[in-house]
């Protein structure tokens, strides 16, 4: 019996009338529509069938039938399938039962939907603001269709985020929003007892740029990949590829095989540069700057190669809906082979020089440990999960682009610490070099772009996953009118991984905070997905919050008048 039939039988047996329909639009995706009363039970049945929770997507359907939609998405890794469980709630009674008590990693997704769409979740253990700013007015839900993308809301005065209560006997150490160990603005309140971390609360989403709203109101399909690329400065191609694949899947467009090979190569270039970048940063965070300098020296080769190939060091701009923009010529192929050889040799030298260094071992072994079961419960992804014995890799489990033809190893270690993450990322760099070579060898000829004959029909749903260097990215697209998506949800790998950081920090030394945090390779901006404003805070002498607010506003007004 097929997986779909099996699931359908189980769902109907347990939920009866609550199941509206089960449909399979393509071999990979199963859509299950359930009434809202059965959503928690349905998600339990799906996870019990061996599915791994990915993310939840909320969408505004008020104009069509007066409801707010909610989709919980899951992956069946052993049979390469995705299960999307859809439900809805009327706008005037926008409340659905929370699935977070069963699946802790759904916590953020649900809080995000509450903030952006005004759909509430009964039984959510922590119904606090997540995405929106503390002074965002109540009752304005930015992702609803009636809210303009460029709305300037009236901010509230004197509102502050209320942190979780500190465990008794602990002191709070605030880390961030601006802190040397964080490369992007986020705030952690770390509860410490002496040097030992006893808990932590997180207030992030300070760089929310409203990308999803922008792309669903302002630009058309083929511009989204360029904005998607700017979700993250490191794994740009990942987001562009994932979006393009989702749209292609919704439109039923088959792209040329050569384009898939070129996409695979771009993704692997990105993995090489990202892993080298992370290796450098990890070295830097534990105070070992030789590793930082040398890893980044090696990385520069790949940056220059990509500049020659795509016209830019990063934000390659290679991916479009329908294929890629530039071809790989025989000359550039020779260039790629030469650079791969240099990187392989240089990285091997670094690897040999650091693998037995006791100072690195002391800082990384046994640090940031969580068990395999905890990693599964919090649905961790990428090297962070693989370092905890969880054998998942979207390239192998849900092959996309040309990965079905590639032969590569997925390194899995079970020491459950930062050291394992480091080893995995070095091994993956070597594997990435192998994949690039296979791509060059096996690449078929022909076109590298296909045009679309008709416009894309509206109201089609599609989901794709792409393995970014730091874990798997999930993109969900609902196609819309006017040549642009109606809803586009991006779940970056840091989204689930960051949720498990408090667990990783528990009972660790405060001095290890930077490297534990760094080990998940956090990309706050892609988690936020939502301009960085440079504000001078004035002198360091004591200043009240109101004064600081006034100063910041003056500064902003000055900036605005300079602009005008």
């Amino acid at each position: 019996m097929s997986k779909r039939k099996e699931l359908e039988a189980k769902l109907i047996a347990r939920l009866r009338d609550d199941v509206v329909c089960v449909e399979k639009t393509d071999p990979r995706t199963i859509f299950i529509d359930v009434k809202r009363a059965g959503i928690r039970e349905a998600s339990k049945i799906i996870t019990n069938a061996g599915a791994r929770y990915l993310c939840s997507v909320g969408y505004d359907n008020i104009e069509r039938d007066g409801t707010l939609g909610m989709i919980h998405t899951f992956a069946l890794d052993d049979s390469d399938q995705f299960v999307c469980c859809r439900t809805s709630a009327p706008e005037n009674d926008a409340i659905i039962e929370s699935i977070t008590p069963d699946l802790p990693s759904a916590g953020w997704s649900e809080r995000e939907v509450t903030d952006l769409l005004g759909l509430r979740f009964a039984g959510h253990p922590k119904p606090k603001k997540l995405v929106l700013a503390d002074d965002w007015p109540d009752g304005i839900y930015p992702l609803r269709k009636d809210v303009p993308h460029n709305l300037v809301p009236k901010g509230a005065e004197d509102v502050a985020y209320e942190l979780d209560e500190a465990p008794p006997g602990t002191k709070i150490v605030p880390v961030g929003p601006f802190h040397p160990s964080l490369h992007e603005p986020e705030h952690f309140a770390v509860y410490v007892d002496g040097e030992t971390i006893k808990g932590c609360d997180y207030r992030g989403f300070m760089t929310h740029r409203g990308i999803e709203k922008l792309c669903t109101t302002q630009i058309s399909y083929n511009e989204v990949p360029f904005i998607a690329e700017r979700i993250c400065g490191i794994c740009g191609s990942v987001h562009a590829t994932a979006f393009s694949q989702a749209v292609e899947s919704a439109a039923g467009l088959v792209i040329p095989r050569r384009a898939e090979f070129i996409r695979t190569m771009m993704l692997e270039f990105e993995r090489i540069h990202s892993n080298l970048l992370w290796l450098g940063v990890a070295g830097h965070l534990i105070g070992f700057d030789t590793v930082f300098m040398q890893a980044w020296r090696v990385r520069e080769q790949i940056m220059w190669l990509c500049e020659r190939l795509t016209g830019n060091r990063k934000t390659y701009g290679m991916i479009l809906v329908g294929g890629v923009r530039r071809d790989i010529t025989p000359e550039i192929a020779d260039d790629i082979r030469r650079v791969m050889k240099t990187i392989e040799d240089d990285l091997a030298i670094i690897h040999r020089a650091i693998e037995k260094d006791t100072s690195i071992h002391k800082r990384t072994k046994g640090v940031g440990t969580i068990t395999k079961q905890q990693a599964l419960d919090w649905s961790l992804v990428g090297p962070v999960a693989r370092a905890r014995g969880v054998d998942i890799d979207a390239r192998r489990d849900h092959p996309y682009a040309a990965y079905d033809e590639m032969k590569f190893e997925v390194p899995v270690l079970d020491s459950c610490d930062v050291w394992a993450t480091l080893v995995i990322r070095v091994i993956e760099t070597f594997e990435a070099i192998k994949i690039v070579r296979q791509c060059l060898e096996k690449m078929p000829g022909g076109e590298f772009f296909v045009e679309m004959k008709d416009s894309i029909p509206a109201q089609r749903h599609a989901i794709t996953v792409v393995e970014a260097p730091r874990g798997e990215s999930v993109h969900y697209v609902i196609t819309g009118e006017d040549n642009r998506p109606e809803r586009w949800r991006v779940r970056a790998p840091t989204f689930p991984n960051l949720q498990a950081v408090p667990l990783m920090l528990l009972d660790e030394q405060f001095g290890d905070f930077p490297i534990i945090m760094g080990s998940i390779d956090p990309c706050f901006s892609c988690t936020d997905r939502v301009a960085v404003v440079d504000l001078q805070t004035g002198q360091a002498s004591s200043i009240s919050k109101a004064e600081l607010d006034a100063l910041s506003r003056q500064q902003q007004a000055r900036h605005a008048s300079l602009k005008g």
């Binding site: 360029f226 016209g311 602009k563």
Partner: protein, 180 residues
């Protein structure tokens, strides 16, 4: 173990030596197909507005000030240098140059403004549609356009014939706000 690692690390650092370029005295090679500052050729431009319609950063604006005169404005301060405008241009009027040292004090130094004299038939946008065969690359904003150039705001309201009231409305454009 510790000592052998340190010796290996010493060799790893010594072999490549100094690799940092002495910029700006020493310049890195600029690849031929770098996506640098876009250059607009007013001789070739037909004013279809395709670049504006497909600019992810929405930094190219189009404003019809009267029946015959169309102003195109490229604001380099918001440009992400993706080169999408050059791709979409049916007349190859935009080229991505390899100039990249374009940091400046005055925004106007990287702003290009073109005033194009338009023939009536060319502004319907149909010519553009014939040029592009890809369904999702066709022009969305057809006809007369009234972007607010001072505020750099792209206005998604167009008209088939020139409409002075829309032009006036565009001058009064303000971002929607819930502030008093």
């Amino acid at each position: 173990m510790w000592l052998t690692s340190k010796i290996k690390q010493l060799l790893m650092v010594m072999k490549p030596g100094v690799v940092t370029l002495n910029y700006p005295h020493e310049r890195p090679p600029v690849p031929a197909n770098l996506r640098g500052q876009p250059v607009f050729d007013h001789q070739k431009c037909i004013g279809c507005g395709g670049c504006s319609d497909h600019c992810p950063a929405r930094c190219i604006l189009v404003r019809d000030v009267c029946q015959e005169l169309r102003v195109m404005l490229y604001d380099g301060s918001r440009c992400t240098y993706c080169g999408r405008c050059a791709d979409i241009c049916p007349e190859q009027a935009i080229t991505m140059s390899n100039s990249f040292e374009i940091a400046c004090d005055q925004k106007e130094d990287i702003t290009t403004r073109m005033e194009l004299f338009m023939m009536t038939c060319q502004r319907c946008g149909r010519c553009y549609e014939m040029e592009k065969t890809n369904a999702i690359d066709r022009i969305n904003l057809k006809g007369f356009r009234y972007d607010n150039l001072e505020q750099r705001a792209l206005i998604r309201k167009t008209s088939e014939t020139f409409d002075p009231t829309l032009l006036q409305q565009s001058d009064q454009y303000q971002r929607p706000s819930t502030k008093e």
